[in-house]
Structures are given as structure tokens and as C-alpha cells.
Symmetry: none
Subunit: 221 residues, 4 copies
DNA sequence: AATGAATGAGCATTCATTCAT
DNA sequence: GATGAATGAATGCTCATTCAT
């Protein structure tokens, strides 16, 4: 009669509520009520609220990590891939993974929530589980952008991660502010917008040191 | 003997704790204990926790808005400014404002927290108070990038906002992950990193429609 | 070992304290301490203080309403009852119901507290739940006092309700003021006092209009 | 410029709010805000909230007590007055006193609130200040109803007090329930309704003991 | 005579968690 | 595998009152 298991119902409800309201703002009471499940079931199945949060993440990240990891292995096997190919692979994996349950927006929003750090355990969890994967990716990017200073590459990658995570995280904020602009934009079209920025940013030449900080003398910071 | 007023002490404590732990995660009790102030003082001086959060914001944003607004007026009076000048003005104002109390990181982190939406009243507050300023800025950016499609410009601006906000928000996350890279990087040097990305992104040509979404056929989303 | 359930313990404690000190003046802390129960138990079992107040009422009123409703049905089935019979039925039901747990004084005091209106939700609750019962009773009284003007009957019924409720509500005030008079007066003897007043009042002829307000010309109200 | 004194403004605001919401439910904050007066002014002028409540009472009761006391003195000087005259005098004084500021309803509502006892100090205050007056009145009633048993008279007087206080206290409850019946009924017309009840009740013969409690054998109370 | 600031005690309510069944 | 009941700790907030000015 009832197809879904209790823990799946909890995960579904928790994910939706976490993404909409944040971790702290979502109580177990609300989750279990939405999942139509006993309050104690969360602690029974997951042990704690913290563990539930990690489980919500794992359900999204594990399939992506597997897909993306396999793709990187394939790329590594051949000659070192170009930057275009790397970026397209990343986007491809992100889009195809998340389509299994929930859209990319949920995936990204969770990622953003993990980074913007409330709930500190979460960051540790992600680092512990997915660091080798990210290291692989960064290695390949490094090979594909040999002329970029190491430091510059580091920051630009984080800027790019930030721009994507932030934009997708706040998509409905944006929709609220600019209904016309964002109305029917599907997530995959957004990916089209991301590509040129990523390429332009990573292909821009390294700044020479003299030009880095034209403002420095004016600030006391 | 005691130089600072009660409400300033509260604002200082609240700001530090909000930035470190988030709004919901920071209780009034912790704030007042840190500020060495009576618990009821928050409600006496600010009325509610929500109003306190807004006051923390206003203390950062109002000086910036004034500085940046005046600068934009000056730019508008002359001929339409180039993109470089606009971006440099923005960075300059951001750096010079926040230096008054607290660093740019706090400023950006607050901005990021407002966007990533927990505490929904906050977004409304920012929109109500600073919309005209942002509209002015976007107008000038539009004049400075005439060849960009309106839609592309919209998204790229948000990507850039995201990259900056996200990066500065998660600066200590990054420091935790890559001590070597980020160790002594002062905030104003980071501004030097931001500039080339911003220029490269906004100066990249608009994509032609055919190229926008090379992934669309592969995803069921 | 422990015979009574938690929610019964709460109801008992709450009832006693409400009657003695009023709703607002009785905190959940005091109730739970008296009931020897965890503070959160009230919200667990009843949801809110308001809901607890209603539950205290319901426990007294529901049995009375059932008893009185059934009695009225029986009276309606026969020929229209006389005023004596109606009044005696009412008193009988009031005495026999409340004797189950708590005395009539509690019952009446609660009724009086509901009427004298602090805690406005309560009046709505009583109206919503017991209106048909009261309507039935008033119908029968109307048939039993055909010579009374509708308006006069309305007011006199309220006067009578008031006299009973008020007297029983303030019984211990009276005992404090006139120990000799009220010392050992059992509640059921008081009922004997009520009867002649009720009958005399409802059987007094309607005033003729000229006599209604001999004071009107002297007051500017 | 400002006609009314601070303490009058406080008394006006407090009276209105007490009558509408009760003592405990009305905070000094609300009172002082309504009176457009500093929060500390209540404690400055009256010493405490309790003292403010008593002052609100005194402003209503003192003029009535003076008027009614004088009238009783005049009646005592002549031959013992009839019951009609006594009742009419009482009603007359009540109506004429209260008309000075605020209507009779406020007067009665305050009286009812004092009786139904939350705020226990208040009862003591009334007893201490007005007992001789009431004693005088009861003496005269006793002389005017020589055939009534002392005990019966005691109870019936309380029933009558209750009916009046209760009815006027809950006048707006009644208006809410029966708009048609109570719509334009001025308070002085209500006095016309009270009179026949009072006379009928006090003139009804004393019950004989056998008839007092026809219910006693059926109740276990 | 009046007031802005401050305070300690208390409020109803919600929280994640535990546990016997 | 699942749950109703219970709990201790903490939450934001309001209270009457005080006090220096």
C-alpha cells in the first residue's frame, strides 16, 4: 500500500524543508509532520538531527561523486583534457545526477548551505568524504591552465564556485526581485550562462603584481 | 569609565556572533552575555531580535550606501564612466566604508547571509532601503557594456555578486582548508583578485543562442 | 503506583489554581509544579495554555450539558413543562453533574470567569459548543412564561444567571466578610435560596412602559 | 496648552483598559502609551500598579459613597423608609454619580472585578473604606423587610448585587450574543428592568425550611 | 515633576532527545 | 520497526520596578 519507506519519507521532507528554510530553522517536529511519521522516527532511523542532515547530503552527493569521479578517471586516461572539456564534464555530471531526484537547484543550495557554514559538522563531513574527488578535478584544471599563477587559479576557482552556488541558492530571491528576467529560465539554460563566465575567468591572464591593489594606499584596513 | 553605550555594545557583540554562527544559531542570551549587558536590554533598545539584525545591517550598509551613492552621482554628472572606473569605484567604496568598523569580510558576510535567505524579513528590508542605489549602479553598468544582451548582463552581474559574497563569506572555511594559500592574504589584496574576473566576465561577448545550452538535450530536467 | 494520568493531574491542578487566582494570574509553571509534572507536559498534552483552559471547562461542562440536554429532551416530549419544573430540572442537573468531580462552586466560578470576559477565546468556545442547549432551555422558559414581554424575559434571565454565578463565584469572599452567615452553608442549601428568587423574578408581571424608567429625566447619561 | 494633568491622563487610560481587558491583562506599558506618558510616571505618581488600581476605584467610588451616604443620612432622619424608596435612592445615586465621568457600566464593571477577586488587595481596600456605608444600607433594608428571615435576606441581597453587577459587567458580552435585544438599550433603561426584580425578590416570603432543599437527598455533595 | 535607561524575575512556548513498550 | 509519553534545557520576549539625572 505504502510504497516509500519511513526513512525515505523523512529524507524527502527534510530536504525540501532544509532547502526552503535552512537547517536550524527546520525543526524535527515540522519534518516528521510533513513526512507523516512519528517524531521519534528521526532519532530512531538516523540517530540525531545532525546525522539526518548528513544523510540528506549524501543522497545528493554520492551519485554525483560517483558519476563525476568516473568521468574524471576517463579523462585522465587520455591526454590531459582542455578547459572546455573539463567544464562541460562538470556541468554535464551536475545536471545528470540531480535529475534523478530533485533539480540542480536543490543540489546547489545544499552545497551553498554547507559552505556558508552554519552547521560546522557538515563541512567536515564533506571534506572527509569528497576531498580526493575535488583534488583530482583541481589537478586537471591546473594542467589545463598552465599560464595562470597558482594563487590566482585558487582564488578564481573559488570565485566561480561561489558565483554558481550563490546564484542557484538565491534563485528564488532573484525571481522575487526580477520576475520578468528570471521567469521561465530553466536551470539547464542557466548552465549556458555559466559557461562563458567560467571560461573567461579562467582564461584571463594573471594580473601582474603591480596592478593587484590600486586601492591599497587609501585603505587603513 | 565605560566608553561605549549599551546599544553599541549589543551591536558589536551581535555582529560578531551573527557572522560567526548565523542569526538563528545566535541567541539573545549569548549576545547579551558577550556584551556584558542585561538580557532585556536588547528588547529595550531594538524591540526584537529581528530589529536587532536589521540594525546590525544598517550600521554597515548606511555608510557604504552614502559613500557609494555620492560617488555614483559624481560619475553620472560627467560623461558615462567606463566599466573599469565603475568597478574600481565600487571596490573603493566597499573597502573604505567598512574600514570604519569591522572589515570588509563582515560586510560581505552579512550581505551573503541576507541573500541566502534564512530570515526573510531581511531581504525585504534591504530591498526597501537600497533599491534605488543598486538601480543606479546597474544603469551605469548597462551604459558601459552596450554590446551585452540584457539577459546576459543580468545573470553575469549576479554571478559576480555571488562570487564575491560567497568567497568572502567562506573565507575562514577556505583558510581552514588551505592554510598555505590564504594565510596572510589581506582583504584588499583579494580585491585585486576580483577585478580581472569582473572585467573578463562582463567584457566577454554575449553567447549566441545556438551555443547557450549544449547540455539541454541530455537532461530530462 | 501512580493512579492518575499526567493530563488529569494537570487538569486538576489547573482547575484549582484557575478558580482561586484566575487564568492570567496562574502560570504554567505553578500548575505543573502543583501537578508534579514537567513544564513541557502542558504543551505536549494540550498544545497551549488557552487550550488547557478550554479543556478545564469542557471537563465540567460536557457532563452537565449531556445531563441537562437529555432532561430537556424528556421534558419537551411531554406537554410543555411549568416554570417550577424547569427550574428544578436545571438545579438538579447542575448539582448532580458537578458532584462527580469538584463542587458546584467550581462549576459556577468557571462560568462566571468565562462571562466576565478576560480570555476572550473562552466565550467563543462556550458559545460554539453549548448554544443549542441554551436555546432549548430559553424556548421552554418562554413557553412557561407567556405573559412576560420578550424583552423583560431576556433581561431577567440574565439577571438570574448573574445572581447565581456571582454569588457562587464570590462565595469565599462572602465567607471572609460574614463568617457567621455563610459558615456551614452547603451548596445544596444555597440552591434552596435560589429557587424563590428565580420564581419571584420570572413571575413578576411585566412592568408597564411608563414605569420603566423613573430615573431617566434626572440623568444626563 | 495641555489641560489634563499627567496623573489624570494615567487614570483615564488605566480605567478604560482595566475595564476592557482586566487588571492583570493590562500592562503599565500599554497604559502609559495610551496616556502618552512616560512609563515611569505610574510608579512616580502612584507608587505601584496596585496603588494605581485602587486610585482608579477611589475616583469612582468616593463620589458615589458621599452622595449615597448623605442620602441615607437624610432617610434615617425621617421615619424608616420603605423598600421602594431605598431601592430608588440607591439607583438614583448610582446613576447620578457615575454620570460625572464615565458611565454606570464602568462603575459596575469595576465593582464586579473587585468581587470576582483576582487582585485580592482590592477587596480589602473596598471593605476598609466603604463598610460603614454598606452596613447603614443593610440596616435600613432590614427595617423595611421585617418579615424576611435574616439568612434569607442576606442571600437575596447578594443575589441582587450579583445580578446587577454581573449583567452590567457582561453587557458587551451580551451585546455580542444578542445584538437585537440589547442594541440601543441605554443603561438607565436597564435600571428600570432591575427595579421589579429587586422588589419581587425582597418581597417574596421566606421559604419554610421543609421546602428549602428538595434536591438534597439526590445529591452526594 | 518627570524621564530614559536599565534590570532581574518571570512568562509561554519550542527544542532535540530519550525510553518503555 | 515503530511510537506515545515525557523531559531538561533553551528560546524570544514582557513584566513591574528602580534609579540617576
Amino acid at each position: 500500500m505504502e510504497q516509500t519507506t519511513t526513512s525515505e519519507r523523512i529524507l524527502d521532507a527534510a530536504e525540501a524543508l532544509f532547502v526552503e528554510h535552512g537547517f536550524t530553522e527546520t525543526s524535527l517536529r515540522v519534518i516528521t509532520r510533513k513526512a507523516d511519521v512519528n517524531l521519534a522516527a528521526v532519532n530512531y532511523h538516523f540517530g540525531s538531527k545532525t546525522a539526518l542532515i548528513q544523510a540528506v547530503f549524501a543522497r545528493h552527493f554520492d551519485p554525483f561523486a560517483e558519476l563525476f569521479g568516473a568521468a574524471l578517471e576517463r579523462l585522465k586516461a587520455d591526454s590531459p583534457p582542455s578547459l572546455d572539456v573539463l567544464i562541460d564534464t562538470l556541468i554535464h555530471c551536475a545536471l545528470n545526477t540531480s535529475s534523478s531526484h530533485g533539480d540542480l537547484r536543490v543540489f546547489m543550495k545544499l552545497l551553498g548551505m554547507a559552505y556558508t557554514r552554519h552547521q560546522p559538522n557538515l563541512r567536515e563531513y564533506l571534506q572527509d568524504h569528497y576531498r580526493p574527488l575535488f583534488a583530482d578535478f583541481i589537478d586537471l584544471v591546473t594542467q589545463a591552465t598552465p599560464r595562470l599563477r597558482r594563487e590566482d587559479r585558487f582564488w578564481r576557482l573559488h570565485f566561480l564556485l561561489g558565483s554558481i552556488v550563490f546564484t542557484l541558492s538565491s534563485l528564488d530571491t532573484l525571481r522575487g526581485m526580477h520576475p520578468g528576467e528570471t521567469g521561465h529560465m530553466p536551470v539547464r539554460a542557466l548552465a549556458g550562462q555559466v559557461r562563458p563566465m567560467v571560461l573567461a575567468t579562467l582564461q584571463a591572464p594573471s594580473t601582474d603584481s603591480a596592478a593587484i591593489s590600486p586601492f591599497s594606499q587609501e585603505t587603513s584596513l
